[in-house]
């Protein structure tokens, strides 16, 4: 009887009520008159509730992100980072005004700057977004330096897996074993970590064209991506390379 009553109420209305999820509502608000999504507005909409605290807001970000294209995801990440940086800057200015030199700007490690994609790299926006993540970008920088790219005779390929926390979306890295030669590396199996998903692997190509080497992914690199089902990122002297598994 209760079910019939529910059906009766709904059929009495002229149209089915549409239920918008919180994420869809935020995206609707951030969609401009031209039908495009303003990711700066999205960033502000996400950060407001986040600053108020609460684990539910991380899921809001994840839900929003799942409805965006890889390019929009990258733009949103950039806009959130920019907004947070400006917010911190404003806070520090405020406290510096109150306390003078007693309040000092916290010294954050400088963000690693990735070189641009090599001219002959495939364009894979989702992978580029992963590489630009501050944690991953710093790990790429460290791995590149550890491969001694400017020291002939001491060059060694290094790399790591990139894993994503299924709950928070946060990225972290799991280093490959230190078994590289100047032009090869054996990573082992992708990490199996509860609650985390391996989303990419990274390794260096420290040899130069002047030494007779190509810079992009080798057939073995591509075969490895295909076999593991995980896309790859490379840093070389010619820039970054991004390649999908097939």
């Amino acid at each position: 009887m209760q079910v019939q009553g529910d059906i009766g109420i709904r059929s009495a209305t002229t149209s089915q009520p549409t239920t918008r999820s919180p994420a869809e509502a935020v995206i609707d608000q951030a969609t401009t008159a031209f039908g495009t999504i303003d990711t700066r507005m999205l960033a502000q909409a996400v950060l407001g509730p986040m600053l108020a605290g609460g684990p539910a807001n991380a899921s809001l970000l994840r839900d929003i992100g799942s409805q965006l294209s890889p390019v929009q995801q990258g733009n949103l990440q950039r806009d959130i980072t920019d907004t947070v940086e400006k917010l911190v800057e404003s806070i520090m200015k405020f406290f510096n005004g109150l306390f003078g030199s007693a309040a000092t700007t916290p010294t954050a490690p400088p963000a690693a700057t990735l070189p641009p994609a090599a001219s002959d790299s495939a364009q894979v926006p989702g992978l580029e977004s992963i590489a630009r993540d501050p944690v991953v970008a710093s790990a790429i920088e460290a791995s590149w330096n550890a491969s001694n790219p400017n020291t002939p005779g001491a060059k060694v390929e290094t790399g790591f897996w990139v894993v994503r926390d299924n709950a928070t979306g946060a990225l972290s890295v799991v280093q490959f074993p230190s078994n590289g030669t100047n032009d090869s590396l054996t990573p082992g199996a992708p990490p199996a970590i509860d609650g985390k998903t391996t989303v990419a692997f990274f390794h260096t190509h420290p040899n130069t064209s002047a030494e007779g080497y190509t810079s992009g992914p080798s057939s073995a690199d591509q075969r490895f991506a295909d076999a593991t089902g995980i896309p790859g990122i490379i840093r070389s002297h010619d820039g970054m390379y991004y390649f999908n598994n097939r």
Partner: protein
């Protein structure tokens, strides 16, 4: 196309083990096997730092050339020397390395 299997004694000498099976596509051009032997010899001479251990010498056809290289094990990232040979006289067209 069915695959033919060759026993390459030269490959065996490079991998320091018993004669190794090399899978190659069947072709009417019998210079493929000569290209394989030439490639093994050229890589050993030109790239003495390269270790062919656990790697399989292969030859593929590319127009008027044979492309010789070593295939890495499936669990390995990296590259190998590549020697491009003219089909006509097995002269070296170019060499390079992948990584």
């Amino acid at each position: 196309m069915a695959a033919a299997v060759l026993l390459a004694s030269a490959a065996a000498s490079c991998s320091q083990s018993a004669p190794k099976e090399i899978t190659m596509a069947t072709t009417s051009d019998d210079t493929r096997d000569e290209a394989l032997q030439a490639g093994i010899k050229l890589v050993a001479e030109k790239f003495p730092d390269f270790s062919p251990a656990r790697k399989t010498p292969t030859v593929t056809e590319d127009g008027d050339t044979w492309v010789f290289t070593y295939e890495l094990p499936a669990d390995m990232l990296g590259g190998a020397p590549v020697v491009v040979l003219s089909k006509a006289d097995l002269s070296v067209v170019k060499t390079y390395r992948t990584q």
